[in-house]
Symmetry: C3
Subunit: 349 residues, 3 copies
């Protein structure tokens, strides 16, 4: 027997009546993905001298094998949101996401996975998230810009290598962190803190130590007319070594059917191959009623920074469905350049 949940337009209007509710939303997408010289890398591990798996003297080896360049790509995403509103108008919500992606390395299917939960309190312009949260960068206006392709395989941020706090889907539970956001007039401020620890078990398995790897970041956003400017800074506790950090400045603008973004970052990863400046830009243009053209470019001055340049298009089919595709080129100073392209359908539900 089939149970049906209606689309939201009708029901949302009356949702204010309900003190508590559970809602579902998501999308499906599938198509063909091409990546020049696609390969599968496999890491195998062994117990090492102490005969115990998971200790500091474990041994490992990595190998790589060529796989098919063209594979079936897909994603199923379902957001599960539980919400409650107090008598005083404070909104509480909790989200878990169910997601299935293809294995991009070899084109095989993966099981759908549940991620870590995110909890929110919202009151007026204030929002506090806890758990598997997005930090100031992941939430920053125009950080991602106009990404290209069914799979959003290219973006203006491609030169950034700093690992900032971001919302995790699929296999990863994400960090257990806190994010604050406050919006007042044309301004918005964000800040996050991730209390992280890395545990290492010494050879022999009888002693283990925990090292702090805390991360924090802050952001400010200003919107004037059709332009949004945003800046963010974040830093990770590097333990005995230097603390990696990231500074990002973004600019976004809309002029009728055209929208564009600019991106520049100081990517202080404290690793020579990726340390330096990163920059990029993106643009979208609505060509008639149903078609959107997209362009993005990202780069960085470090040897291992990925340069991405790509063009794409979205054709709206109505009912939340669209055809999407893109083609681009990935390169870096120390890699072979590779052509990437995809095409397929996406539909919201």
């Amino acid at each position: 027997m089939k149970k049906v949940l209606f689309a939201s337009t009708a029901l949302i209007a009356t949702a204010g009546v309900a003190a508590a509710e559970i809602s579902f939303s998501g999308y499906g997408r599938f198509g063909i993905g091409y990546l020049e010289d696609r390969a599968q890398s496999t890491t195998v591990t062994g117990a090492g001298a102490d005969g115990l798996m998971g200790t500091a003297d474990d041994v490992s080896a990595v190998s790589s094998a060529d796989t098919d360049d063209a594979i079936l790509v897909s994603r199923f995403r379902l957001n599960i949101d539980g919400t409650a509103e107090t008598d005083g108008g404070v909104q509480f919500s909790a989200r878990v996401r169910m997601q299935a992606d293809e294995n991009a390395a070899n084109g095989e299917a993966n099981n759908a996975k549940l991620n870590g939960a995110r909890f929110s309190v919202i009151y007026g312009g204030l929002r506090v998230d806890a758990g598997n949260v997005a930090g100031s960068f992941d939430n920053l206006a125009n950080y991602y810009g106009n990404e290209v392709g069914l799979e959003l395989f290219a973006g203006q941020y491609s030169g950034v290598d700093y690992s900032f706090l971001s919302y995790q889907s699929g296999d990863s539970a994400g960090s257990n962190a806190v994010f604050f956001q406050y919006a007042v007039g044309d301004f918005a401020f964000g800040a996050s803190y991730d209390q992280a620890q890395v545990t290492t078990v010494a050879a022999g398995g009888l002693t283990s130590t925990t090292t702090d790897a805390d991360r924090w970041d802050v952001s400010a956003t200003y919107t004037f007319n059709n332009i949004t400017a945003a800046v963010a800074y974040g830093q990770t506790d590097g333990g005995a070594g230097s603390d990696p950090s990231l500074t990002v400045l973004t600019l976004g603008a809309e002029f009728g059917d055209f929208s564009g973004t600019l991106f520049v970052a100081d990517d202080a990863t404290e690793v020579a191959a990726t340390d330096g400046t990163a920059w990029g830009l993106s643009a979208a243009y609505n060509l008639g009623a149903a078609t959107t053209l997209l362009f993005t470019y990202g780069d960085g001055n470090a040897d291992a920074d990925t340069q991405e340049i790509a063009v794409g298009a979205i054709y709206d089919l109505g009912g939340g469905a669209s055809l999407r595709g893109g083609i681009g080129r990935n390169d870096c100073d120390v890699c072979e350049d590779r052509i990437q392209a995809d095409f397929g359908a996406q539909f919201n539900f």
Copy 2:
């Protein structure tokens, strides 16, 4: 606080209004399952000479222990379907299934699992599935016939050993494949293609190789009056060895309260113990308003082909619930024969 989703009858009628929706459906079943000489087989693995787990020189050992013949059997199945319909009437849908089964080897419980996602496009008589799909055999009319028992433990296909492309539930993500189906008048045609690769890591873990294991199959079905005839052929790329293949012919008919199926297959597995012809038949008879009697028989001429013969019954309790049970005998030329039986309740939701 409890949220309720109504049964579909009322809501389906208006579902055409909604451009996008998420629906849930499924069933639960539980009861007692008996299998003569039930045993649990355990495979343990070790790293082998190179000290690395997951390489070609891994070692393994298999052992078996007797467990209780009578156990609690159960299944919880929930299909999660997201759908969208374009302005042009093309229907897109995506499914992930949540399923929990008991561990049949020892009668312990298993966690519910999410399988790999299936995506579909449907327009008129044409249907294209991608991802974790059922192929031409799994979709073939009367392939399974009237299976017997609460757990459907016996079927007319029991002599078939070829591993065809089938929809996977539970732990398995399934294959990432494509299935096409086209129906026109009394005819229907199907075809599937599964681009599969097997990766092997050499001892030492520093090199890995990928071998193609692509599968394809085609089918044709013709319905005339109360009779349906179907034929399907499929083949798997065997690499350096011969390519295993399967040819199946089925016939199904309904005469009032009686329905029956016939099954014959050329099971060319390219393995002596299972290579040969397989055949079977099944029947169902509605005895009064609420009771259905079932019979099935399957066999094959290879030494390791399983012969299954079973009788069963379904008693409808109304409201989508029923009592179900069956008893049968499994045998093969090189095995001990075993009696299998089960009884319990199933209810749809």
Copy 3:
């Protein structure tokens, strides 16, 4: 596109019309948890002399590292219930729970998990559960009493060490067992049986053996006016050794804004460090319209029995949301005492 499920009040009224339905319910909670001297224990394992993982000669080592005393604590719980009612008024239902908790050892996030399924048949005062069920203790009136804290970190049962059949959430599939409950007038009776087996693989991996570890328990409950008295007894098949058992007597009473419970148990674990008598009590007092004060105390006379004493409060925010917190002290004859406290918000959906 967002799909909304309304809160149940309106819909439940008409639910009797539907023969089958799927419903969702749950809660979110998050806050700060403090535990003095919080530490993470890590167990690592190796293959041992036979070079095979999972056999009787596996070796292991345990280590412990200090982690942050104050961490972000949280839980996301979603119950998924499928139900059907027969023409004769017999109700069938099946439940799977999706739950995400923080990792209490180190404050990191965990993925949401699905547990094992529970199936029920309900007819009049009779209820039969199968699968991942709660047994007679887990279902016993006033067994848990008034637990304290956002995370319910303290309870009157703290001196009990016997492992009884209980409903499992998260990673654990639970036992595959049966529970019967029958209510008639002021009396209720319960009984459960868990057919459990433990498989051990001998060194070398070529032989394995299965040992019975069956559990059963029974209970009786009597309610007279505002007082409920309950007694339960359960036993586990200890194989060659003695059979551990547990006897529990509880008493609960409500007088206007006050409710209290008493608890005494014979905890015959057959292990010297935990064998003996356990006792406890708890109380709750409604202070005005929105505030509830809580107190609990649990203890036992064995050396390793945990003594818990804690006070807490709940402040109702309306709409199913509340603020909750508690502070207490955990101790035992052979441990360092530790202060535990938490505070946060909980909201039902």
